[in-house]
């Protein structure tokens, strides 16, 4: 008995391979997107940690200084006076190769004499000693590369490597190539350029300073002794603390990507559900027969579960493969965003570990089983007789629809409450998920209502066939409902993401218009697109101020400020009453803020205030070169430049607190009548040899928006993937549905419907489904957008965005829905129309 039962069910998917295939694709794509995002995120993080590790080596502690670094004399005192021998100075920097494709190399300026205690893995037993190696100390710009990096760059000892450092063209002379004996150590040398600390100071133009001092302190007593020796402005930290606080910067970014990737999974779940429900409906007759023959409910449920699991497992396995491939594609986007917004990370290769794969696998299987639950119960409950036809199932379906809608509404309400009241970002996402699924559950009911309303109109204005199409949508609701819901979700996501990005853009463009007022901006090139923390060569500000046509030069000094949590951007600037209107206040009264700012206070950005729950009147600790200072907060301004948070203080106060008079950028106001673009050229002509970035107001704004768009590139990719999953779903559902109705269509043909009319019928039906999906997606998508903008964005990034209602997004979404549905109807229509009525009727 049992073997026959198994055979009978096994034959089913084998006879309809495309149907099983589409379910597999659904699972695979969902799993792939989740895994890909995970792997891409983790690869970027691990690349960063590896580079940190190669930088920190065995150090137990690290000394870090103020913005310009630690004065090198301090290291000498540490060695000669405090006698801290287990210490090594280090300078970090970046170079970009000029050969294509460009690679970002981390310059590690080391003191070879101090190194062995810290980075023995960079040692190369067996590397022949040559006089060339002595050049590392005596020769300018001489470097040592790891064997892998050297091979990738195609250089050998004796070669010269052309690079750009902070925009300046420069050369590196390769004097040796290291081949560490352990592969783990080799990874530490990936994209690392080792050079003597003297060369590093020269290359990076940082005479007099080092970035940090590594320490190897075994006992608390030693740590206390070093601590006591530290002057104000030099602090002791641990390498793990430092790396952690840096990687934590991307936490929000990663969570949001993960959440978006889960969305693809949810859409995938609908697909599985759809396929399985469909196969149950199709097989009711068979299942009924089996039940008549004595197969128990439990056995039928088992059959369904096995079939579903096979699809789930195959889909998951395919998804893993796809995910790894997709991760490689997404890695570039993830890395670019991290580089644009957070910190420099050089990563070109994905690192596949078990965790994301396992996670994807579990998720894929769980999703498959959840999606299987209802169809399985449905199959098991098939009564043991053969007479129950599909029509009776549809009737049953019609009874369920209102209940489903009620459940859905409840889900939406619960989702909304959880989202608003939830204590963390995950609750907000869970709320969003509830909202989405709830909306999906309401969709069949909405479809019925809409179709019933539409039917008389359709019949009167578009004739019989239109009326038939409308009715068919209702009568096949068991299959159309899920397909419409899946498409609806995809379209709603498109609307939501579209509205969010649009709101973001509108807000940022407004903000840029308000805050970017100077006509021309001058800065030194830096590795981060939106952070300008490379000091300008001295004298640049003074020379520019003397140029004809200059009305005023506003100076800025940007630095990354370490705090007890993640680092924040600190901007020291000159503020005159003319600049007051360039600030938009989230909290505080300008009449009070500015006097306080001039006196002793700072102002902070909204994301910083929201993330650390700070308000006007609170204090903020600045770790300055002259010691920690508790400073009052005078105002909180809107800022969309960085989610890390911004602290602003007057330039003069910065200079005295941090003992640093460097300037990182200039805002130049030109006299009336002077053309900013011509002035840009004039400035470039004055400093032909310097790698200065000179940009007009318009081009700076354009660049800022460009960076913003780049940030959303990955969001758009994920949204597209979700749409593709949904499209596959609707294609699967429609194809199955139409092909199943082959006999019915044959009958219609026999009754005189010509192929053109058949086309018309099928395409009307599918476009109606698309239209319903699009229509429902409008309120749902808008609700999701509001959730993204006002809840999720605010919690994750701390931004207040203006909601920008852009009609074209809805129009686009509606068109997408209908086009997707029509496209999905073409294949079945083509197949059915080709078949002669006689053949169609002979089916079964």
């Amino acid at each position: 008995m049992i073997p026959v039962v198994w055979k009978s069910t096994l034959r089913w998917p084998l006879r309809r391979p495309w149907q099983a295939m589409l379910a597999i694709i659904g699972v695979a794509m969902g799993v792939a997107v989740v895994i890909a995002i995970d792997i891409a995120n983790e690869s970027a993080r691990r690349a960063f940690l590896t580079s940190t590790q190669s930088i920190t080596g065995k150090a137990t502690q690290q000394l870090i200084g103020g913005p310009p670094g630690i004065p090198e004399e301090f290291f000498v005192r540490l060695r000669t006076q405090a006698g801290v021998r287990t210490s090594a100075p280090l300078i970090e920097g970046y170079a970009v190769t000029t050969q294509r494709p460009t690679r970002t190399l981390t310059i590690l300026g080391i003191d070879p004499f101090s190194e062995v205690m810290f980075r023995p893995e960079m040692s190369a037993a067996g590397t022949p000693l040559t006089n060339g190696m002595a050049s590392l100390l005596t020769m300018r710009d001489s470097v040592i590369l790891g064997a892998k990096t050297a091979a990738a760059l195609g250089v050998t000892p004796g070669d010269t490597l052309a690079v750009r450092i902070a925009g300046r063209p420069s050369q590196m002379h390769v004097v040796a190539v290291l081949t560490p004996d352990k592969t783990a150590s080799a990874a530490l040398l990936d994209d690392v350029v080792l050079t003597d600390i003297a060369s590093a100071q020269e290359m990076l133009q940082r005479p007099g300073f080092i970035d940090h001092i590594d320490l190897l302190l075994a006992t608390d007593a030693e740590r206390a002794r070093v601590q006591a020796f530290l002057p104000a402005g030099i602090r002791m930290t641990t390498p793990t603390q430092r790396a952690q606080s840096t990687t934590e910067m991307t936490a929000s970014f990663e969570i949001n990507l993960n959440a978006l990737s889960l969305l693809a999974m949810v859409v995938g779940m609908f697909l599985i559900y759809n396929t399985m429900t469909f196969s149950v409906v199709q097989r009711r007759q068979l299942l009924g027969t089996l039940r008549c023959l004595g197969v128990s409910q439990r056995e039928v449920a088992g059959l369904m579960l096995v079939e579903g699991s096979v699809i789930g497992i195959i889909g998951t396995l395919v998804g893993i493969g796809l995910g790894i491939g997709l991760a490689q594609l997404l890695l570039g986007l993830v890395a670019r965003t991290i580089n644009d917004i957070y910190f420099v990370v050089t990563v070109t290769q994905i690192q596949v570990s078990w965790v994301p794969i396992l996670k994807g696998q579990v998720l894929g299987l769980v999703a498959s089983f959840v999606a299987l639950a209802i169809p399985t119960i449905e199959a098991a409950r098939t009564p043991p007789r053969t007479v129950l036809r599909r029509s009776s199932y549809e009737e049953q379906m019609m009874r369920i629809v209102p209940i489903l809608a009620l459940l859905g509404l409840t889900g939406m309400v619960v989702g909304g409450v959880v989202m608003w009241q939830g204590p963390s970002i995950w609750f907000s996402y869970a709320g969003l998920l509830f909202l989405t699924i709830g909306a999906a559950m309401v969709t069949p009911w909405t479809t019925v209502v809409l179709m019933q309303a539409l039917r008389p109109i359709a019949v009167r204005f578009f004739g019989l066939i239109a009326g038939m199409a409308v009715r068919d949508v209702i009568t096949s609701l068991s299959r159309t409902g899920v397909a419409i819901a899946a498409l609806m979700i995809a379209v709603a996501v498109t609307i939501a993401v579209g509205l969010m990005v649009a709101s973001f853009r509108v807000t940022v463009v407004d903000w840029l218009t308000t805050t970017i007022r100077a006509d021309v901006f001058v800065s030194a090139p830096s590795m981060n697109a939106n952070r300008l923390d490379t000091p300008l060569p001295s004298g640049v500000a003074e020379r520019i101020a003397l140029l004809p046509g200059v009305a005023r030069v506003r100076r800025y000094r940007s630095t990354m400020l370490p705090t007890e949590r993640t680092p924040v951007l600190q901007i020291a600037l000159e503020v005159t009453p003319a600049d007051y209107e360039t600030f938009l206040w989230a909290e505080g009264d300008p009449a009070v803020i500015w006097p306080a700012f001039a006196r002793d206070a700072i102002i902070i950005s909204e994301p910083l205030a929201l993330k650390r729950n700070l308000h006007v009147g609170d204090t903020f600790v600045l770790q300055t070169t002259t010691g920690d200072r508790r400073v009052p907060i005078a105002g909180i301004f809107y800022d969309y430049g960085t989610e890390l948070g911004v602290v602003m203080l007057p330039l003069e106060r910065y200079a005295s607190w941090y003992a640093d008079d460097a300037v990182t950028s200039l805002g130049i106001f030109v006299r009336p009548g002077v053309d900013p673009e011509q002035f840009v050229t004039a400035v470039r002509d004055v400093f032909p040899d310097m790698a200065l970035m000179v940009r007009s107001n318009a081009s700076l704004r354009a660049t800022s928006v460009e960076v913003l768009d780049r940030t959303f590139a990955i969001t758009n990719v994920l949204q597209l993937l979700a749409t593709i999953v949904a499209f596959v779903g609707i294609l699967a559902a429609l194809t199955a549905m139409q092909l199943e109705r082959m006999r019915e269509f044959g009958m219609l043909r026999a009754l005189g419907l010509d192929p053109r009319q058949l086309w018309q019928l099928i395409l009307t039906e599918t476009s109606l489904m698309g239209a319903v999906a699009g229509l429902v997606a409008v309120p749902v998508g808008t609700a999701m957008a509001l959730a993204l903008i006002y809840v999720i964005n605010r919690i994750s990034f701390g931004w207040t965005l203006q909601f920008a209602l852009q009609p074209h997004i809805y129009v686009q979404a509606g068109i997408t829905a209908i086009v997707a549905a029509v496209l999905a109807g073409i294949y079945p229509a083509w197949r059915i129309a080709r078949v002669s009525p006689a053949v169609a009727l002979r089916e079964e």
Partner: protein, 392 residues
């Protein structure tokens, strides 16, 4: 001549090349955990021929020595060292020995000399610190490298000061006749004051120590053989007050070890009759004593006798097998200085005084029993034996 010229090449230049230049590659740390011996063997053979001394002067003719100026550095020469060894005793007559040595090595000067960084330098410093506790049979040694830049390591004449981080030898005043050594690492500390009790002895021909027949293959070499020493020495937890006698050796040059020379033995001995003896024995690959070996004896009367290879007969007594490197060193020495009818028996105070540093060598406190015209004289001093751990 070049008592330790080979030494220079070996320890100084190669050690530095080895460590600093190859990014402290196989481990030139003071931690003896690395297979330094193997590295050393490779480096001695490989590095010797590559010494690039372009841009440095050579010791070609006799020059006047002026003090304290010449206590300071001579950066025009590629190699230079300040060498302090001494035999000390505490109130309970427990014996101690110490060695404190600073080497300066000039890197090839073919690179770009001027720079935007104060870290840029062509001078690399290396130092060895060793303490012997005879009664407890303990010997501890450490090694340091540093660049001669920014004040991390360096040397100056007036006031005299030579240092690597917090290892310092310095004069409290401009005369340079008193010197103070402070050095601490791990569980040893040296904190001693040295007072010259006799004049400077110019070695070789008025301070020009010829190495081979070729002019310029020589060094400038002087010693202060007898320096009264007081201070404290710590080995482990307890610091003890000590007194005794130290020997200072100074040498600078720009030349390398001959291709046939594989090592040398150097003696700096104080006899209780007040005489000071410096002897060096260069060993050639064929096992013969090199003709440029020699030495100096300064009698208590102040009369200095220069010795040539023919004046001395050397007889190694037995062998000591190093448990660290498996090298075999002479266990003791019998030496006859023919012109003075002086026979010396030199025995290490403890057998194992092999330094666990980049290039291994044996250097340690010794006891001397001498016989001159059948009159016994006791003494002590320092012995250095190199090249034993290198020879294949």
């Amino acid at each position: 001549m070049h008592t330790r010229h080979p030494h220079t090449t070996l320890v100084g230049f190669l050690g530095i090349l080895w460590c600093s230049v190859a990014v402290a590659l196989t481990g030139c740390s003071s931690a003896p955990a690395v297979d330094v011996a193997t590295g050393a063997r490779v480096s001695v053979a490989a590095g010797m021929a590559r010494v690039d001394t372009t841009g440095y002067l050579r010791a070609e003719e006799v020059r006047p020595f002026v003090f304290p100026r010449d206590h300071g550095p001579h950066p025009d020469y590629a190699v230079e060292w300040w060498y302090y060894t001494g035999n000390l005793a505490d109130a309970s007559r427990n014996e101690y020995g110490y060695q404190f040595t600073v080497f300066r090595t000039g890197l090839p000067r073919s690179g770009v000399p001027h720079s935007g960084s104060k870290w840029r330098t062509d001078a690399v410093y290396m130092a060895h610190l060793a303490v012997t506790d005879v009664s407890k049979q303990r010997f501890v040694a450490h090694e340091r490298f540093d660049r001669g830049a920014l004040g991390l390591a360096g040397a100056q004449a007036e006031p005299f000061r030579v240092w690597l981080d917090d290892w310092v030898v310095a004069s409290p005043d401009a005369t340079g006749s008193q010197m103070h050594i402070t050095a601490k690492e791990g569980d040893i500390t040296l904190d001693i004051t040295l007072d010259a009790t006799g004049p400077v002895v110019l070695q070789g021909d008025r301070g020009l120590s010829q190495k081979s027949a070729q002019p310029g293959n020589a060094s400038y070499y002087y010693s202060i053989p007898r320096m009264a020493t007081t201070g404290t020495i710590r080995l482990g937890d307890t610091a003890v007050a000590v007194t005794g006698t130290s020997w200072m050796d100074r040498e600078w040059s720009t030349s390398a070890l001959g291709p046939d020379q594989v090592g040398w033995d150097w003696f700096a001995l104080h006899l209780n009759d007040g005489s000071d003896i410096m002897l060096y024995r260069l060993r050639n690959r064929d096992g013969m004593v090199d003709a440029y070996s020699g030495g100096t004896v300064r009698a208590s009367t102040g009369i200095v006798t220069r010795l040539h290879a023919n004046d001395i007969s050397w007889t190694p007594q037995g062998t000591w097998l190093s448990p660290h490197t498996q090298a075999r060193y002479p266990a003791a020495w019998q030496i006859t200085i023919k012109p003075l009818s002086l026979t010396l028996t030199v025995t290490p105070s403890i057998a194992d005084q092999e330094l666990p540093v980049t290039v291994r060598y044996w250097e340690g406190a010794v006891r001397v029993s001498a016989l001159q015209n059948e009159r016994p004289i006791d003494g002590n001093g320092y012995l250095e034996m190199t090249g034993y751990a290198d020879v294949p």
